[in-house]
């Protein structure tokens, strides 16, 4: 009897210690969960992330039921104006005064790096869906920083490989003059050279350049096979439009858009953009699940989602799942859980988050359709090939992140 009692007590203790952390801490530190969407709401990247990212985050929360662990989930948003100091001070205010639990979006690499660094000091998870620089998961990686959608390694792997193999051996770069552009140029150059191609020139253009004609003519006179646009958003659109004005493609050189979003293609029109190849993480009509979600998004936002919008939805959903499953909003616990999960939704299939923060997932090489092939206003892209996750992203064994190597 005594023995039994002792065993019983022991097992009760064991069970209690197993269960207690779940039941006792199954509540949030401040009675609610708050997600911050920090993005460019008014500048060059507004269309590809901006207000659409807020819509995507809200959809994710609504689809999750509006609450987690019986506590409400809220979204707050702000404009970082592409300025790292504004981004960091907003994030600081959010964390200190608003008790934000996770920050997402963060397009613009300079802003992203400064906010990820700050969030690390404050032990807050960042799920970056908008910025490109690999520094986020390489030399400046943090235990709380997750890089979710694409990076400047994944982009050139598909596009540059395809173009070099099709005879585009010499490359000239028009580079956005900040962290993202430089990172993209260096990584693309490395891919080109590893395949036997050559980089023949580079010119740095400031962010939000209005008139690319001078740079385009320099690229033209270099005689390079490929003119590579290591920029994004409105800059890419302007450059491609002006290249068309000066008939650069018609005279035989190819344009490579390293980071192109469906909103850019829509804004340029198929006449100008047709045939352009680029790499993306998401095509809204790639399968039924993606199409169904995208149409819901379209109803609320008035434009089809970019890969970044879809990424915000997926990131927020998976963050909420991790909070629910661990029963806490403690960043270390939630981050550990996110690292164990296999991610599956309309955006990602069999995705996983590495210790350095990279979210491993397949990417797609796509081509802009000809006007005759397009069936609707937003039917703009054709998937050329799938780039497997292991090829697209830097393998953990080669990572320069101090957390892993």
């Amino acid at each position: 009897m005594f023995k039994h009692w002792k065993q019983g007590l022991a097992s009760t203790v064991v069970i209690a210690t197993l269960v207690m952390p779940l039941t006792a801490t199954a509540e949030l530190t401040d009675g609610k969960l708050k997600i911050g969407v920090l993005s460019d709401m008014s500048g060059v990247y507004k269309a590809l992330e901006g207000p659409g990212a807020v819509v995507a985050a809200k959809m994710a929360i609504e689809d999750f039921g509006g609450s987690v662990l019986d506590q409400p989930v809220e979204v707050i948003s702000a404009d970082h104006q592409n300025k790292p100091d504004i981004g960091a001070s907003t994030a600081r205010e959010w964390i200190d005064a608003e008790e934000v639990d996770m920050i997402t979006a963060l397009d613009n690499s300079s802003v992203a790096l400064s906010v990820q660094g700050l969030a690390n000091d404050k032990k807050i998870i960042t799920m970056n869906t908008g910025a490109g620089t690999t520094a986020l998961t390489e030399d400046q990686c943090t235990p709380y920083g997750i890089h979710y959608v694409y990076d400047t390694h994944a982009l050139p792997v598909g596009t540059a490989t395809a173009m070099v193999k099709n005879g585009g051996e010499s490359w000239f770069f028009i580079t956005a003059d900040y962290a993202f552009g430089h990172s993209l140029r260096d990584n693309t150059g490395a891919v080109v050279e590893s395949l036997g191609g050559e980089v023949v020139g580079n010119v740095n253009a400031p962010l939000s350049t209005n008139d690319f004609s001078s740079y385009l003519l320099q690229a033209q006179s270099s005689g390079a096979d490929v003119i590579c646009l290591a920029n994004a958003g409105q800059d890419t659109v302007n450059a491609i439009k002006q290249a068309n004005q000066f008939q650069i493609v018609q005279s035989g050189q190819k344009l490579a858009g390293m980071l192109v979003f469906i909103t850019d293609v829509h804004s340029m029109g198929l006449d100008i953009a047709q045939g352009l190849q680029f790499t993306t993480a998401f095509v809204w009509n790639q399968n039924d699940e993606a199409r169904a979600w995208s149409e819901r998004f379209f109803e609320r936002h008035g434009a089809m989602p970019t890969m970044v919008h879809a990424g915000v939805y997926s990131a927020v959903t998976n963050y909420l799942k991790a909070v629910e499953e661990t029963g806490t909003d403690d960043s270390d616990t939630v981050r550990a859980k996110l690292g164990e999960m296999t991610l599956n939704d309309m955006f990602v299939k069999n995705g996983s988050i590495l210790p350095n923060g990279t979210m491993l997932h397949d990417m797609y090489l796509v081509e802009v359709k000809k006007p005759s092939e397009s069936e609707s206003e937003w039917d703009l892209l054709r998937v050329v090939s799938k780039i497997p996750a292991e090829q697209a992203f830097i393998p953990l064994s080669e990572s320069k992140c101090p957390l892993v190597n």
Partner: protein, 298 residues
């Protein structure tokens, strides 16, 4: 460096130069006749572009008027509207400041600029909205032998040059121009001869503003229409006016064109200096010829 590259960049420089010339011309006219340093000039340029954009694509959506003002009509309508705004600014505000130091006019016009920019930034994308109304007749390219040059840009260059030199001719070689110059030289005496000097001053300001509006319409199809498009340009244009000589009409035109060329060629030979070369020249001119290349020492 091949000749072809230099020619191509020079032509692009000229393309920029005509906008400098048109804007600095308006500034010089206003400064010459009114002694006002008009900081709102960039905002007038921005306004011209926005009037073209709104007239082309937003009249129905915003005001329920089913009317589309095309590019050619905008070349007339936008300067007139901007000119009327100029009249209001001069009559209601600037007029009260003529007795005071230059700096008050400068501060007032700077304030107007910030208000207009803020207003448009509230409704439009800061990074720019494309102007869709470029006429079919001006699309495509012209083969100049050394390069393919967009027809529209060529049109903008020729059109601006005509406007600039016509303005100069009117001011220097017509009766109207000579009266204007007399009004500047000695307003009291001119008034005594029965000329309505205050009216002349108002119309001059309206004309200068309208010129900036016209430049805005011309710029709309080349650059995106953005609330900050004038702010980006106005500082350079002030430097152009200083180099040309405050108040000198021909000086403003020629230095505008020349500095556009210099900037274009700097992009070929040493790209990082392209955005600062004009200011470097301005410093040199101020040190060695403070009245500007074409200005008269007073």
């Amino acid at each position: 460096m091949s000749m072809q590259v230099i020619l191509a960049q020079a032509l692009l420089g000229l393309n920029v130069g005509v906008f400098y010339a048109m804007l600095s011309l308006g500034l010089a006219v206003i400064f010459g006749l009114l002694n006002i340093i008009n900081f709102a000039h960039g905002a007038m340029y921005m306004l011209g572009a926005f009037i073209a954009l709104i007239g082309y694509s937003l009249l129905e959506q915003w005001f329920g008027i089913s009317l589309q003002i095309g590019f050619w009509a905008s070349l007339l309508v936008a300067p007139v509207i901007v000119g009327i705004l100029g009249v209001l600014i001069e009559r209601l505000m600037l007029k009260r400041l003529y007795e005071l130091d230059h700096i008050y006019g400068l501060l007032l016009t700077f304030g107007i600029t910030l208000i207009l920019q803020g207003l448009f930034a509230n409704y439009f994308n800061v990074s720019g909205t494309p102007y869709p109304g470029q006429p079919e007749a001006l699309s495509g390219v012209v083969n100049l032998g050394f390069m393919y040059f967009p027809t529209y840009r060529l049109f903008a260059i020729v059109f601006s040059l005509v406007v600039c030199f016509a303005t100069w001719w009117v001011i220097e070689h017509t009766k109207l121009g000579s009266r204007l110059r007399a009004g500047v030289e000695n307003p009291d005496l001119t008034q005594a001869f029965g000329l309505n000097v205050p009216l002349m001053v108002t119309l001059t300001f309206a004309f200068g503003a309208g010129l900036a509006g016209l430049a805005g319409v011309l710029a709309a199809p080349i650059y995106s229409v953005s609330p900050l498009m004038g702010a980006d340009l106005i500082i350079v244009v002030f430097a152009v006016v200083v180099i040309g000589g405050m108040g000198s009409i021909m000086g403003a035109i020629l230095s505008g064109l020349a500095l556009g060329l210099v900037e274009g060629l700097t992009k070929v030979f040493y790209p990082p200096a392209a955005s600062t070369v004009i200011f470097f020249l301005m410093v040199l001119v101020l040190l060695f010829r403070p009245a500007g290349l074409f200005g008269k020492e007073k």
